[in-house]
């Protein structure tokens, strides 16, 4: 089973909502669409689901052209960010409704609904209506409806975004198990890089209506194709600074220089350096680390991690480190960065090394 997009575009008025996109999404793992709000994740999902018409290009399911097929005929299911259920039906009827439409027998429906409800802990609520449920239960009901159906593609459009933290973690852990063995292509849209990393599989980075990079999630995280991809796939945001490479060394400022390592550009010139906040730490842990100085503006403590936003020259950087570190706001602190973890981008944004 595979879902293939060939040079698909979508135009609304004179705006290009989705720029030419080609993708092959396969079953057996999560296909994550990662991008900020407004990047076109939902637009792309609507195109793939047949809810919107593509301006040009082709959409294929298992090699069959479905570009002009209505969503009703595509054998797909969809879970929205908002909890969408049929308000006048009980939870049981909600889960059963797509099955009834597909002409499944009554006993088979009852069996399937109960199985799915059991996994999603909805058994005690089967006779209730959606508005009598909590937000998490409502979304579980929507998930159950999507999963119970024999779909060839399951679209999950930020399904966990409106849930509270605990529920989100719980459902995120369950999702891969729920969808495993279904034989469906799973498309999962999210704006959180962390979620993409946790779900694994493959990730398509989206920015401004375009898929900028697509491939195995870990590989994309380690090798962002360009500055934009690195920005999208980093939370907190990736630290960026202009650097000059000359005389076999990298120069961040006249005082901060370090010798060229294997990942640095070979030719002299001006480059954009990018480094993830977790490689900028307040304590020196290895000899190769480069010392920085910055004025701490904000510091945050989130459970086992401390992060500090600091200003260094004209750059605002973030440091993220395990353990509890105390910063004095407004004071200069030392930070250490690992030069082997730096990305170097050319002036046009492309990754050099």
């Amino acid at each position: 089973m595979a879902l293939e997009l060939r040079q698909v575009t979508k135009v609304v008025g004179s705006n290009m909502h989705i720029k030419e996109t080609s993708l092959v999404l396969e079953q057996g793992h999560f296909n994550v669409l990662l991008g900020q709000t407004g990047a076109g994740k939902t637009s792309l999902i609507k195109l793939m689901a047949g809810l919107d018409k593509a301006a040009s290009g082709q959409i294929l399911m298992d090699g069959i052209d479905v570009t002009n097929q209505s969503p009703q005929k595509r054998q797909i299911s969809l879970v929205h960010q908002f909890f969408v259920n049929y308000p006048h039906m009980t939870v049981y009827d909600n889960i059963a409704s797509p099955l009834r439409l597909s002409g499944m027998g009554k006993d088979a429906i009852a069996k399937r609904v109960n199985e799915t409800a059991d996994i999603l802990q909805l058994i005690p609520m089967l006779q209730r209506r959606p508005h009598e449920l909590s937000g998490g239960q409502q979304q579980r009901c929507a998930l159950a409806r999507a999963i119970a159906k024999d779909s060839t593609v399951v679209f999950l459009d930020e399904p966990l975004a409106n849930l509270d933290y605990k529920l989100r973690e719980e459902l995120r852990d369950q999702l891969p198990d729920l969808l495993a063995g279904r034989g469906a292509v799973v498309v999962y849209a999210t704006s959180e890089p962390e979620e993409a990393l946790l779900l694994g599989g493959k990730t398509a980075l989206m920015d401004d209506g375009q898929v900028t990079q697509f491939g195995p999630t870990a590989q994309i995280y380690r090798h962002p194709k360009n500055l934009n991809a690195a920005r999208v796939f980093s939370d907190p945001p990736i630290n960026i600074a202009e650097v000059i490479v000359r005389d076999n060394q990298v120069e961040l400022s006249p005082e901060i220089t370090w010798p060229l390592s294997s990942n640095a550009p070979k030719t002299a010139g001006t480059y954009t350096l990018g480094i993830r906040p977790n490689f900028v730490v307040p304590q020196k842990t290895s000899a190769s680390q480069v010392a920085l100085k910055g004025r701490v503006m904000v510091s945050e403590l989130s459970g086992s991690e401390s992060s500090a936003h600091f200003e260094m020259g004209c750059n605002a950087w973030v440091s993220q480190a395990h353990g509890i570190h105390n910063y004095t706001i407004g004071q200069e602190h030392d930070f250490f960065m690992d030069p082997s973890k730096c990305f170097f981008f050319a002036p046009d944004g492309a990754l050099i090394a």
Partner: protein, 265 residues
């Protein structure tokens, strides 16, 4: 009784006084009504109601009214549902302007349309039928129903439609088995307003009918002038005219509150 109860009680009594007077009169004889002031019926009689329920010229007035009001409500809602859906879900050229112009129909007094309707219906042979009144009232009721329903539909996320299509619902099936039940409060409110307007509207109903479809309100005015002052009978007819409205209000009272909360009623 506490002091703060006095004002509302006085106000309610003030509101109920004319209704009480009407009901009290309907149980009196005409002689008693004409003889002077009496708070309660001195000689309690059901004669007035008996006349209405046995005389065809009276009870047909009610049947006629209920018939054209029902036809009108059904047509208005049936036409307004898809129209309101289009206004709430699609963007098309001139949608906002058209939506506003719908309402302007209600700004003209009904009398303006009495003559054109009379001439038109006489020409096509619709004069003095229930359809004549029902269709004439649609001119006012469909825009109102579209306006009210659009408000309720706007409160239903578009994602519901999308989910249903993806789940395999065809459009007609989705509309009837998912969408309408979802906005049933709105349908109730819209139907109530169509019913009430059509039930109390007298001018068009009277102009467009003669004998066969004469509404109850027209029957009442005629009896008053021809057979002297049968005040008891008229009061009984008036009392019976209030009842259908009261029943409908009872059923939609919760929905009306919701409609007001959504700012569309």
């Amino acid at each position: 009784m506490q002091k703060r109860h006095i004002v509302p009680i006085v106000y309610i009594l003030f509101l109920l006084l004319p209704i009480y007077w009407l009901v009290a009169m309907s149980f009196k004889t005409t002689n008693e009504i004409l003889s002077g002031f009496s708070l309660f019926p001195q000689t309690f009689t059901l004669e007035n109601y008996a006349v209405i329920f046995t005389d065809p010229s009276w009870y047909w007035g009610y049947i006629n009214s209920i018939l054209y009001v029902s036809i009108n409500t059904v047509i208005s809602i049936a036409v307004a549902l898809p129209a309101a859906y289009a206004f709430s879900r699609y963007r098309f050229l001139g949608d906002k302007t058209l939506f506003f112009w719908l309402l302007t129909n209600r700004m003209a007094p009904a009398a303006v349309f009495a003559l054109p309707f009379f001439q038109l219906y006489s020409a096509v042979g619709l004069f003095d039928t229930h359809w004549a009144v029902a269709l004439a009232h649609c001119l006012f009721n469909i825009p109102l129903a579209v306006w009210i329903l659009e408000g309720f539909m706007g409160g239903v996320p578009k994602e519901l439609d999308e989910t249903a299509f993806v789940d395999g619902y065809s459009f007609p099936r989705f509309f009837i088995s998912i969408f309408i039940p979802t906005i049933k409060a709105g349908v109730g409110v819209a139907a109530f307003f169509c019913f009430m307007f059509s039930w109390v509207e007298l001018l068009l109903a009277k102009t467009l009918t003669a004998v066969a479809a004469k509404p109850i309100a027209a029957t009442m005015t005629k009896t008053a002038s021809s057979a002297g002052y049968e005040l008891g009978l008229l009061a009984a007819a008036g009392t019976l005219t209030i009842i259908p409205g009261a029943i409908v209000i009872y059923f939609v009272r919760n929905y009306i509150a919701k409609g007001f909360a959504m700012g569309r009623v």
